[in-house]
Amino acid sequence: MLGEFLQYLFSGLTSGAIYALVGLGFALIYNASHVINFAQGEFVMLGGMGTVFIAAAGVPLPLAGLLAVLLATVVGFALEKLAVEQTRNASVVTLIIITIGASIFVRGGAQVAFDKQFHTLPSFSGDTPINILGATITPQSLWVLGITVVIVLLLQYFFTRTLLGKAILATSHNPMAARLVGINVNAILLMSFGLSAALGAVAGILITPITSTNYEVGIMLGLKGFCAAILGGLGSGFGAIAGGVILGVAEALGAGYISSEYKDVIAFVIILAALFFMPSGLFGKRGTDRV
């Protein structure tokens, strides 16, 4: 009984950590620009697929991973520079539609530049499962959880302890005042897109040894990360993490105790419930309009 429950819990925490990383990417870009970046899932795909193909070209795996993160970051920069910045005066809805277009473009590009097959990566440190109270956890799951925790702590430090992190928060709250104190708002936006892309790519690399990857994985992982961000409250970093973990665990428990056919259904039932009954999420700001 306990073993079974723990088994589902471990699997849920692992995918929850991935959703949290993707959700954090949504939160970062939303905070800086109020844009919901539906190309977020493509950064996840670029991380995994990029690593697979760079490694296949003979580059050692850790370096290939790093290069893939850089590749995704550059694509993130390009998205901000070429699509978002050029249309600065467009409404937020227009910008969101642009990100949907960009995601289709990136997916198409990946299909051509890479291929349509499924690929996987070797686990970072073997596949010998570890027994805990009758359940097992793979070393790769520990990598996922460990790296997620490290990233969250680094982001926490960045936003609460450095002036640059606070400048991002200030820009999010009041772009006009931020410009008046000399903050380069365009540079902040660029940085947020780059950072989100890097986060997504890391998530994509971490999950590939567990679930494998192909050019289309970004669609579902992006949507799950979006669910995490909405459930936690858009724009709240802590909310995205909590939302991701809740979503991952709920999915795993549902798949285990009800039916694995319903795994994805559970995520979307949760997001619909959140949107109907709690539109500002668990930790989001209450939506107040300034008059």
């Binding site: 606070k166 005042a177 008046l180």
Partner: protein, 234 residues
């Protein structure tokens, strides 16, 4: 001449809000720009800070043409603005707001500047770890001024510092403005409260629907019949 503006035009879409403004500020001066609501005062200050587009004319600062310079470049050159309605960063602490004022000088230790601001505005020291959004209107005004001063400006642009404050607080804010002037900060003060502004200004400009209609020494403008009738209700 520290600031020299010639023929400045600006607007929103096809509506022109400023129809060719000529205005100058000498080093060490306190210049008041007064006018009714909607005259274009805020648009003018935003154009000076580079956050509002300019369609014609030039802005020269310390001899350099900055008409097309970025806002952050202007802060580096020494122009700081205290915007209308304070615009403090509400969720951040008072101290973080001040630190962000020195954003262009990051790398330098802000401790001495922070102490100077806390000396100037003791209430901010008491509230230094509170979220800026929880401060009262007067305290937010002080914070906005402190934030602008953290950049070490040579030219301070003040947009309606008295707006929404009690008469007592208005007096306090204007005392601080005068003190800053005595410390050598050049100030361009934009106010609807024409009497208070002209009373402490060396020179003044009257702005009416996008055009400068009168200019002269502060005390002369205070005595001017047109100004008295239009802005002072006398």
């Amino acid at each position: 001449m520290l600031l020299d503006v010639k023929g400045l035009k600006s607007g929103y879409g096809r509506i022109e809000a400023l129809h060719g403004i000529d205005l100058s500020v000498n080093k060490g001066e306190l210049v008041a720009l007064v006018g009714a609501n909607g005259a274009g005062k805020t648009t003018f200050l935003r154009a000076l800070s580079g956050v509002q587009g300019v369609t014609a004319g030039t802005i020269r600062y310390a001899g350099e043409d900055i008409t097309r310079a970025s806002p952050q470049k202007r802060v580096t050159l020494g122009i700081s603005q205290v915007p209308e309605g304070r615009q403090v960063f509400g969720p951040l602490t008072v101290e973080d707001n001040l630190r962000l004022g020195a954003f262009k000088r990051r790398g330098e230790d802000p401790a001495a500047d922070l102490e100077r601001m806390y000396g100037l505005f003791p209430i901010l020291k008491k509230k230094r770890l509170d979220a800026a959004g929880t401060l009262s209107g007067g305290q937010q005004q002080m914070l906005a001024m402190g934030r602008a001063l953290m950049a070490h400006p040579d030219l301070l642009l003040l947009d309606e510092p008295s707006m929404g404050l009690s008469p007592l607080l208005v007096g306090e804010i204007f005392n601080i403005v005068q003190m800053l002037k005595e410390q050598g900060v050049t100030i361009l003060l934009v106010e609807q409260n024409a009497y208070a502004a002209l009373a402490i200004a060396d020179r003044g400009y009257v702005l009416e629907t996008g055009t400068i209609t009168l200019t002269g020494a502060g005390t002369d403008l205070l005595a001017n019949d047109q100004v008295r009738a239009a802005y002072l209700g006398m």
